[in-house]
Amino acid sequence: MNTLREHLRVLRETLQRLLLTPGASLLSILVTGIALSLPVGGYILLQSMQTLDARLGTKPQISLYLAGGMSAAEIGKLGDRLRRHEAIEAVEFIARDAALKQLRQSTGLADVIDGLTQNPLPDAYVVHPKSRDPATLEALRNEIQAITGVAHAQLDSDWLRKLEAILNFGQLAVALLAALLSFALVAITFNTIRLQILTRRQEIEVVKLIGATDAFIRRPFLYFGMLQGLLGGIAAWLLASGMLYAMNAALGELTRLYASSFNLPSLSPADSLSLLAFSAYLGWLGAWFSVSQHLWQIEPR
């Protein structure tokens, strides 16, 4: 109870101290917010690309386009042969009429399709191989290509692998950016607290003389760093949300043209909490470094 009251008192005093220099406080909070909003924005972009990736399914598949003029029996026999193949997990038949219907529904090309006199699409099998290894897949593709009745076998894993590589690269870039900017935040807080310690030097000396513990002296500075970090985190959240809102508005236009719905997700509650906790922690860390670096130098004489 005693300690709780003491912590509340320090919190209140810290808030007062922040409000005492509103300009400087606001600036520090904004700098923190901007610095953090960059990796947060990058993180959201990556996340949305990953959900896109997952929706498409990263499992490679081979599309088999069949030659025209095959009878239903021939097509069925080819399917059975594929199903018996030991390297193949599953086989899916897509009839040319069904394919056309799907195309008509999912794109805005209904007018064009209605204008066609005949269906230009071939019958197709979609083969799901067991392996994910590129070399094995390539060999399987060649093998299937050679089967009579197969006009063309296409391995669909290439662009997915490229996407994965890009995502990995993006993740690394965002992680590096976050690490660098976090370091900058710690440094900013370190300096802010150093200046505070210097201006409150006399007070520190006096309270040491009348029996204040190190923890008592440290507390207001740690609170200040933490509070500034937390407010910076809130600023980052607001900035990132604002950017998302603007980007979603623009994306809406774009995706409508591509006949799909795709939205950048907003930060989940868990991610938002992590952001706030992390930024508060960074502020606390900077203050802690500063305090342990400078406080012991101040001894009453």
Binding site: T3, I210, G211, A212, T213, R301
Partner: protein, 216 residues
């Protein structure tokens, strides 16, 4: 309560502030520390308050040796003291009330109980009407009394006063000494450094006289 045994204090550069000082002060005793400026009075008080450590010899305060005291043990030790400084060491970013409140905040006092104690201490030094004033608006004598209020608010066992009447005229000086005398009467151990002959004559007590770092 306080025991000095063959204490030497040498500063970097070779200046010897205290030479072979030995004495004891019993609980509830009132003692004057006299001598010219530079005789080592302040150094001696700093050793008692663990602001400095002796170069050799032992300084025992409430059974703890200042020479080897651990850093963590210093704050609890200092809470037994009331310190009155020649330069007051008041904080000008808060009013008189908050200055006196400081030692109680450090100990984590209940705010209502603390407020009562602060007002009692301010009343004792005759500054109750000035609790809202910033110390910078107070006269030299009032500042000194405010410093005393801060020193006693915590009900210390030991009061250390470094030239408490140093820059004050006789009337103020006697007022402050009367306050000290009243603490002595309730059992507080008092160590007052002074070179004010008038005070010594009017409020007699045991005298420790220092001359060039040596006890006479």
């Amino acid at each position: 309560m306080i025991q000095f045994n063959q204490v030497y204090k040498r500063y970097p550069g070779g200046h010897e502030a205290l030479k072979n000082v030995s004495f004891g002060i019993a609980e509830g005793e009132m003692v004057y520390l006299t001598g010219h400026s530079g005789a080592g009075k302040s150094t001696l008080l700093k050793l008692i308050a663990a602001i400095e450590r002796p170069t050799s010899g032992s300084v025992l305060v409430r059974g703890q040796n200042i020479r080897s005291i651990k850093r963590e043990a210093i704050p609890p030790l200092r809470r037994n003291f009331g310190l009155v400084f020649q330069d007051h060491k008041l904080l000008f970013d808060r009013n008189a009330f908050d200055n006196v409140l400081l030692p109680l905040q450090i100990c984590g006092f209940d705010p209502r109980e603390a407020a009562k104690r602060v007002r009692a201490a301010l009343d004792k030094v005759g500054l109750l009407a000035r609790e809202k004033a910033n110390p910078i608006a107070l006269s030299g004598g009032e500042q000194q009394r405010l410093c005393i209020a801060r020193a006693i608010v915590n009900h210390p066992n030991i009061l250390l006063a470094d030239e408490p009447t140093g820059n004050l005229d006789v009337e103020y000086a006697h007022e402050i000494m009367a306050i000290f005398q009243s603490f002595h009467q309730v059992g507080v151990t008092l160590i007052i450094s002074t070179h004010d002959e008038g005070v010594l004559a009017k409020f007699p007590a045991r005298v420790l006289h220092l001359k060039q770092g040596e006890l006479q």
